[in-house]
Amino acid sequence: MTRFLLSFLAVTASATAATLTATLKPTTVNLGNSATLTLVCEGGIATTVEQTAAARNLALSFVDSQKSVDIVGGTRRESSSFTYQVTPRVAGRFAVPAFKAMVGNREIRSEPVILTVLDANGNNTPKNIAQTPPPALLRVKTTTTQVYAGEVFPVSMELLAQGLRQSHLPVPQLVTDSIRFTRIRPDYRQASPRSLNGVLYQNVFLFETGAVAMKPGKLNLIFELDVTVMDYRQDVFGRQRNLHLTSDPVPIEVLPLPANGQPEHFTGAVGQFQMSATLKPQRAQIGDPLELQVNLSGKGTLDNTPMPEPASWDGFKPHSATSETDNTEVRPLFSRKQFKRMIIPTDPKLTHAPALLFSYFDPDNEQYVTLTTPPSPVEITGSAPPPSPRGDPPGPDTRGPANDSPAIQTIRRSPGELAQAQPPLITRPWFIAIPGLSLLAFLVAFGWRRQVEYYESHPEAVRAHHVRRLTRNTLRQLQTPESQADAARFSEGIQLILREQIGQATSQPAAGLTAQSMLDAPLQLSNEARVALERLLELDEATRFSGTTPTANPDTALNDLNCVLRALK
């Protein structure tokens, strides 16, 4: 009896202690942004919460719920929380209504919280904004309020604007999680201007698309859009404004697929579909590949649908399948997908390719449907191949459920060669140097060869080069004091230069030139140069015949020589 009383008191105390607390973060937002409303139920588990009143000018969208049980100091404490996204439509101060929940048999309520919404000018007074129709509206319609998870349902969105100032039409984006469009960019069409609440909206765009709910549960469809429009409410000439539009939430209940009657081959397709299969070629030898092509089409989405499988691949060795979604389907609720798979016959007794099975859930009739392709006739010739010593590549496990998606490869045991990240080889100097040096060798060899060939075909160039070099070297020697002290050597050097230069100028061999022939040579010399040449020849004669040191100054002789050389040039 005592134990019963204690238990009763404990239960009563826990029910009494259960509370529901609402917190809003942040409590002030700019128009276009959202706040997060968190409802925490402590002292008990609330399975659901419910608004006690409708929220005016606010869109509440359920985000998440959590439950937790903690044991602190031997006391069990239970709590649950619910998160909502609160999106205001106009500036102002709004009360987020109280929520109620049932804990045990007792109803608990939260307090309303206030959300302040600032407009672009930082003003939180709605003034005319709420009284006059807005310059742009986003409206969403759907023909259904209850769909199955994975079912495609139509969504039509309507954008009405007084004066749209955008060349690129933006697409409304889904705010609600766990919902996706069937098309990345929905098709749209422009409708004629429409009058609504006394306001003429010149730009009316209709977006028609399909959406798929992926998780069961209750949710609100909310779309948002940023537009630039002309606002004529406060200025007759209009003022350009950037608006963040949010649609009214559309409640949708997403039902889970029934577990009863779910076929073994069901892979998640929901809708109404057709299937066809072709096998090419229809005559083949053992080991020749055959292409099995399967086309799936119909109302619903096939994005994640794998290739239909037969009950068994006996007699065939199937390879992995490829698939391609046909994006040319213009109807947003419909899709087409093509699969191809190479199969290799291994049994000469085969007469048919196996029938393929494809199961889907039909939401209209609320039942599972299994499609079967007729067995494709095939004629196989040849004898069975001997077993490969290394073994054939394994086919799929025909006993288990078929799956054409490969498995994730596991990790590697060894890290390999762990090293600091190196720059690419092509940027390292030593690597560039290898072909660089060979390029240099090629260029040197090429230049050298061209020079050799040039000299071979131009002997005058060889002579000119020889005379130039000999003149340069001899002149350098003549300028040394030792050479100038030796009269015979000095004169011999001058004569050598003169013979080589005059021989080149007259195209005669230098060795055959005498003093007289040099004087008689048909040279275009100035009087000064000719006199200098005569002096040099006289100096040579004097040196050779007298055998004594000439009286002439070496500098004078060198000046004469330079004068003659300049004239010869």
Binding site: E417, L418, I426, S438, A441
Partner: protein, 244 residues
């Protein structure tokens, strides 16, 4: 005394580095085997943070991320691993699985250039081109030095020349493509904005694993473009890119 202490410390570090059980790579493998993928990722990442790189390290990190449901991280590291070791089948397969997951079984096809040259990495192309180019240039240098060799194997010279020049061009282009850091992968669902500030209005969403090209950077924001041509600004926190 200081020298002795330094030698002792070096020996300890060396022994630690050689200990196969205690290395972060093996610790990451052990965590992966026991299903602690987040811890495995952290161990592999610690090696990357030290500047250590190997295809297996990127691959294991990506595989742990893939098991953990982090498709963006998985795709990024698999792409890096594929650049280092382009013919590894396990890398290719996991990358395909991750991309299939992101694109619902129909990922965008690789470009023509990638399909033609993607079986070798930039270093491999360079190693293929450099000896041929060097050999061809030395051969040319030799026949200019010794013209009597000009007629020997004259048929092969232009073939070798064309091949080496073509391979050099391919190596340069492969290096240019593979070392490009103008790509990235989104690592979590994010709003794509009109401008590079948090207050900028959003245009649309990108999901975990979306692969993008980067057109411009402004402080911590990237102007990125996806395969369908949609362009917008995303914060660096949600983008894994070689630039970050």
């Amino acid at each position: 005394m200081k020298t002795l202490a330094f030698i002792a410390l070096s020996l300890c570090l060396w022994a630690d580095a050689k200990d196969p059980v205690e290395s972060p790579f093996n610790q990451g493998n052990a965590a992966f085997e026991s299903g602690r993928f987040e811890e495995a990722r952290a161990q592999y990442q610690s090696l990357l943070d030290r500047g250590q790189v190997s295809p297996s390290l990127h691959y294991n990190l990506a595989t742990a991320a893939l098991h953990n449901g982090n498709l963006g991280h998985a795709i990024y590291h698999l792409r890096v691993a594929r650049t280092l070791k382009p013919r590894a089948m396990d890398i290719k397969q996991n990358l395909k699985i991750a991309r299939d997951e992101v694109h619902h079984g129909t990922p965008p096809k690789a470009g023509t250039w990638e399909r033609l040259t993607g079986f070798l990495n930039a270093d491999e192309w360079a190693m293929l081109a450099a000896p041929l180019l060097t050999g061809w240039l030395l051969w040319l240098a030799a026949i200019y030095g010794w013209p009597e060799w000009r007629d020997s194997a004259a048929v092969w010279r232009p073939i070798l020349g064309t091949l080496s020049v073509a391979l050099t061009l391919v190596a340069l282009l492969a290096w240019n493509k593979q070392s490009a850091n103008d790509w990235g992968v989104i690592t979590e669902e994010t709003l794509v904005r009109f401008g590079p500030v948090e207050q900028s209005p959003d245009q649309f969403k990108w999901f975990d694993g979306t692969e993008v090209w980067i057109d411009r950077r402004h402080h911590d924001w990237f102007l990125a473009r996806d395969v369908s041509g949609r362009q917008g600004w995303v914060h660096a926190n949600v983008l894994l890119t070689p630039q970050s």
